[in-house]
Amino acid sequence: MDLGYLILKNPARVHSFELPFGKAHVFYPELSDSRSAASLLLDIDSVALVRGRSQSAGEGSLDQYVNDRPYVSSSFLSVAISRVFGTAMGGRSKERQALADTVLEWTAVIAVAPCRGGERFIRALFEPLGYVVNAERHPLDESFPEWGDGFYYTIRLSGMQRLQDLLTHIYVLLPVLDAEKHYWVGDDEVEKLLRKGEGWLATHPEREAIAARYLRFDRRLTRDALARLADEDEPDPEAVEQARTSEEHEIEAPMQLWEHRIGAVLSALRAVDAKTVIDLGCGEGKLLKPLLQDRAFERVVGMDVSWRSLGIARRRLYMDQMPDAQRARIELIHGSLMYRDKRLEGFDAATVVEVIEHLDPPRLAAFERVLFECARPRAAIITTPNVEYNVRFATLPAAQLRHKDHRFEWSREEFSAWALGVAERFGYAVRFLPIGPEDSIVGAPTQMGVFTR
């Protein structure tokens, strides 16, 4: 019966609260001298959240009516805990302060929490804090087992805690469980959450994972023009693209393959004495940066098909703050390797670094003509993965490509057959160079062709 005093909610009625995203109700399913239970029930108004988007520009909002948020315990619940149980979470109780300071036997049930990290991650979060954890997994759809497992859990935490610690732990760790987008009511909520971790977060073995999850909060929620064009099988191409690129990097990271690639391309550019360079498929500008730093390259142009990547490149190169002399040497253009383009003509060298494997094989013919017949640089440098090397990547499952958007990955033989054919058709000579540590059987992880005419 003391529970009511601890959480300052009279068991004789249902306590309802208006929150920015809906309603919260507190009631007591069980009430006896030996054991009491209080429930915090959220009724999230998804319609208001979707419709309010235009006014509040992304924050505290949803972009889909069909959304799991009304049914799961997420950051919305954390916000509700702080609003509804704020005093208790602060460790204060008007009438039962001693009890509030006492370590008691508590059981907390989180009805449904999304956790893509699985039961292991749930345990890793709560067990170090002294809880006995029970996690029950719910199926995604029993009728379609081929869609894979579900990632919703009913989590039961038991342990000896002060009430304020129990509430704080749940308050901070709920959003961590959930790797999905977070819907904050305001920026300050994030800070409040992190402040609550003082004292225990610093020594938590998963502190890095916890912190990393919080850094995801700045992801843009607005759907932009590109997202609206997504096909049904790829709901959010940019997000998927980001995730995949980071996968590829994780696979290749241990050997710093990108560093090797840039080094090899720079040395090939210097070998052909290129003064003007166009980087086709420049992405976020990884190669443009070193090109810009070497004044031997008098003119540097980066082209990419992704408007967004060009924006990132612009920021990463600090193009808006560049001195005029440097600014005059660089240009970023939006373009495509599938269309003839006058702007690509007249360069000493063109670089096409890790790009061709993103083109559908039937469309390669168009790319070949755009580059070798129309743009016709004095030299062209093309790099692409060597698929033979994939067996050497510990983290890459067998027969899988390094990146989900790769339409193919070539063996050394396949690459050279293609490159020699292209060179012959368009009047170029080509030589091949390995990039990265060379293996005596499977070769180097990346292969490079240097075309000259």
Partner: protein
């Protein structure tokens, strides 16, 4: 006094300050035609007398003048222009844009000018200014023609100035008022027999009496000769006689060829090399009386370099004509007409290497030309070369305009050996494709990037904003199939006005009243299938794919998504899929019925889960899973609360609420599950075609939807396992019982889980009260909408808010995309260059990236 000037010219007014140029210009020309240096001074300095900004002012003047001349607008320069160095850049400007420079000199006495200046407060400069200007003018008067002015008019007194009136004369090449029909004849080169046969074949009656020809063209037609009547061939005088009499009687027009003018030079006694068959002309003309030679000389000398016909839709020139030169007059235009674009180099046969102006041609006018013999005339970017080398043993060709049909007469023999064997085509990069198809292997980014304005037959022009074309470029480049296949992308579809009926968001009543409002007598209701939109192109065989689509080695067709992406990544599955569609088309006899060996279908492909698997796994199933896991727990806690604290009455309310929510989420899970099933083989797929969009030479938007439904239903019957005939019904909008029946039908469809129906006006294109009506509106079922608006959207407090939805944006988008879609198909069946088709397809994709409520 009448001053005659060409209708398109750069008129340079010349005269000292105070001579009345501005007054003259105001009187004789439109205000916007006159560019005055004083006005440009004030544009850059706020003071029209500020001499310190003269340089900047003239830069502005030249800039504006160049824009006007590029656009083909007569332009008048109102400045003193008394010094040669002021006039020189203007003459250069006129040459650059191939317009004629005209000088109008106001040569008034120094006295008159000085007096007028004195009367004006803002002209407080000394008398030396006008004196110097008058002296400059005097020195200029005689050299104006040498400077390049083709017309010089000098007005010597104020009376002359007052009496002058300007007469604008059309250029000789302007025959825009002649609409044809025409028969355009290629290089004749003295092949009289073939010419007579060809003209006869085209329906011209040719009489020869008293050494004269009398030619009667078939009803209203006129022949146009592309030049090179003379040299090389066997009967040059006869050809000249025939053509001259036809031109004289108005039965024909003729433009000059380079051979014709070289003959003129020789006949005029100039020193020219007797090569390339000129000897034959001279020998044959030698046998004619001298008067005939004189007539020939003056006839050929008087020919106009090229003609523009039919409101600018047709250009005929001997060697072709770039867009920026069409309908203009200058030495360069004449040279281009005679020799085409030459690079200055010669090939191994000693013949000039020609620039490829036709490959870069983007003009609207059709250009018909000759000059370089080709084995077969081929269309390329609306140009066609019809010199098929008759004199070299090829054939004599005529193009019928506007029919675009070719007529031939084979050469009776090889009259002259060509320097370069013209029948042996250059080895093509891709075998068997037409010149246009080869050209279309690669599209140019200039044809898609940036802000674009596309004209459509159905809906005027459609504007594509720059940011939207940027988004489309990315999707098109990263994911789309070979653009040669992409002849259509489906438009978006709007729902009807939101229903106010209890627990409904969409209901048939509003769809019917929409079309009634737009004046439609009846509509078709077609069951809406819930799968993924698919466009299917299927050809009779790979040869047809090559012939019509210019695609080689990519099978007999394609199935692609609403964004132009190949539907199947598995090529084996795709070809089996297409083979099955092809069989159904064959069985139904559609190839013969439509006289086509390809067709394009607008379809829905089931199951939804085939394409939407990712969406189902990431969004739809999780929402169901979370709700199914959470709500029973909430409910049992609430029920426990009721039993432990029955006095807390609010709990009962919550119990009721959560019971309802649980039921609604169960309905939601049922809703999405209906559209999902596992696909292991082709037999698990269902294709429901609902528009037979196009086949050879025809876009079937002129047929009503009943035709589409019935024709496609016959096709579906030949493979009912795989093809789904769409159930439909016709509704008479003036008959309430017909409407009630359809509504009941919709209710039964949707209550048993159907997505709903699509309501279309009977005719494919329905002109509404003001504009095009929506080509279709979708009326979606209550259960289906749970997967759009969320599981619980039918709860009253949700529904009231969801009813606030704005349809205008979606509707306008649907019409623009529909117009573009039909336009792209029409351009494709007209065999227009791919860039013209792609422009529309790209436009639909770009428009799809415009922000509209994705739930509509």
């Amino acid at each position: 006094m009448t001053l005659t000037i060409p209708e398109l010219s750069l008129v340079v007014l010349i005269g000292p300050s105070g001579c009345g140029k501005s007054t003259f210009a105001r009187k004789q020309f439109q205000p916007t035609e006159v560019l005055s240096s004083d006005f440009c001074r004030s544009l850059v300095s706020d003071d029209e007398n500020d001499q310190s900004v003269t340089k900047e002012a003239f830069e502005v003047l030249h800039f504006v003048a160049s824009k006007r001349l590029a656009a083909g607008k007569l332009t008048v320069v109102d400045a003193t222009n008394v010094q040669p160095e002021a006039r020189k850049p203007l003459v250069a400007l006129a040459r650059q844009f191939h317009v004629l420079p005209v000088a109008i000199v106001l040569n008034l006495s120094e006295r008159v000018c000085a007096d007028r200046n004195k009367a004006r407060a803002d002209r407080a400069f000394g008398p030396h200014v006008v004196r110097n200007q008058s002296q400059d003018l005097k020195r200029s008067l005689r050299q104006l023609e040498r400077e390049g002015f083709r017309h010089v008019h000098i007005l010597n007194t104020p009376e002359d100035v007052d009496a002058a009136s300007i007469q604008r004369q059309p250029l000789w090449n302007n025959r825009k008022h002649e609409h044809g029909p025409f028969d355009i004849v290629g290089d004749v080169h003295g092949c009289f027999d073939e010419l007579r046969e060809l003209l006869t074949q085209l329906g011209y009656d040719i009489f020869h009496e008293n050494g004269e020809y009398r030619v009667t063209p078939p009803d209203g037609r006129k022949a146009v000769f592309v030049g090179d009547l003379v040299d090389r061939g066997p009967a040059i005088p006869a050809v000249l006689q025939l053509v001259m009499s036809m031109v004289k009687s108005g039965a024909a027009l003729c433009v000059p060829g380079n051979h014709d003018l070289k003959l003129v030079r020789k006949l005029k006694g100039r020193d020219v090399q007797i090569t390339h068959g000129l000897a034959e002309s001279l020998a044959q003309l030698e046998a004619e009386p001298p008067e005939f030679r004189e007539t020939v000389c003056s006839f050929l000398d008087g020919l106009v370099s090229h003609y523009m016909f039919d409101d600018g839709r047709l250009v005929v020139a001997h060697a072709g004509m770039k867009e920026e030169m069409q309908g203009r007059g200058s030495g360069k235009v004449r040279d281009f007409a005679l020799y085409g674009e030459t690079t200055g180099e010669t090939d191994e046969f000693g013949l000039p290497v020609r620039g490829n102006w036709a490959a870069e041609y983007r003009g609207k006018a059709m250009v018909v030309y000759g000059h370089t013999p080709v084995a077969e005339p081929e269309w390329l970017n609306r140009t066609i070369n019809i010199d098929t080398g008759c004199v070299f043993g090829g054939k004599l060709t005529a193009l019928r305009y506007p029919e675009r049909e070719l007529a031939y007469v084979p050469a009776r023999k090889t009259y002259y050996e060509p320097a370069r064997p013209f029948l042996q085509e250059e080895p093509a990069l891709v075998p068997d494709l037409t010149a246009q198809q080869r050209h279309d292997e690669l599209l140019d980014i200039e044809d898609v990037l940036g802000k674009r304005i596309v004209s459509t037959r159905l809906h005027r022009t459609v504007t594509i904003r720059e940011e939207n074309s940027a988004a489309a470029l990315e999707v098109m480049s990263r994911f789309a199939a070979n653009p040669k296949w992409l002849i259509y992308l489906p438009p978006t579809m709007s729902p009807p006005e939101t229903s106010q009926k209890d627990s409904y968001l969409e209901y048939p009543t509003e769809a019917f009243s929409y079309y009634r409002h737009e004046g439609a007598a009846s509509v078709l209701c077609e069951q809406k299938h819930m799968g993924s939109r698919a466009v299917v192109i299927v050809c009779r065989d790979e040869d047809a794919a090559k012939k019509h689509f210019g695609v080689i080695g990519e099978g007999i067709g394609i199935c692609y998504t609403r964004t132009g992406r190949r539907f199947f990544s598995d090529r084996v599955l795709e070809s089996a899929f297409l083979a099955r569609v092809q069989r159904a088309v064959s069985t139904a006899g559609l190839w013969d019925e439509l006289k086509s060996d390809w067709l394009c279908l607008d379809c829905e492909l089931m199951p939804w889960s085939l394409k939407a698997q990712e969406l189902l796994r990431r969004q739809y199933a999780p929402v169901g899973a979370a709700a199914t896991a959470a709500l029973p727990q909430a409910l049992s806690l609430l029920e426990a609360g009721v039993s432990s604290s029955p006095e807390v009455i609010e709990l009962n309310g919550l119990v009721g609420e959560f019971k309802e929510r649980l039921e609604l989420t169960r309905l939601y899970v049922d809703a999405y599950r209906r559209y999902c099933w596992a696909v292991n083989t082709l037999d698990d797929l269902r294709l429901a075609p609902f528009h037979l969009l196009a086949s050879a030479g025809h876009v079937h938007v002129d047929k009503d939807h009943v035709w589409h439904m019935e024709t496609l239903s016959r096709m579906c019957q030949s493979d009912p396992q795989f093809l789904l005939a769409t159930p439909w019904r016709n509704v008479d909008l003036s008959d309430t019982s017909s409407e009630a029946d359809a509504t009941a039908w919709w209710e039964s469809l949707t209550e048993s889980g159907g997505e709903g129906m699509v309501v279309k006006p009977l005719s494919f294109v329905h002109k509404g009260r003001r504009d095009l009506a929506q080509p279709a509106v979708k009326c979606r079922g209550r259960e289906y909408l749970r997967i759009i608006y969320g599981p619980e959207y039918t709860r009253a407090h949700h529904l009231t808010r969801l009813r606030q939805r704005a349809l205008a944006g979606k509707r306008s988008l649907a019409i623009r995309e529909f117009a573009l879609g039909v336009e792209s198909l029409e351009r494709f069946v007209r065999c227009e260059p791919l860039r013209r088709v792609h422009e529309c397809v790209f436009g639909v994709l770009a428009l799809e990236s415009e922000p509209v409520d994705p739930r509509l």
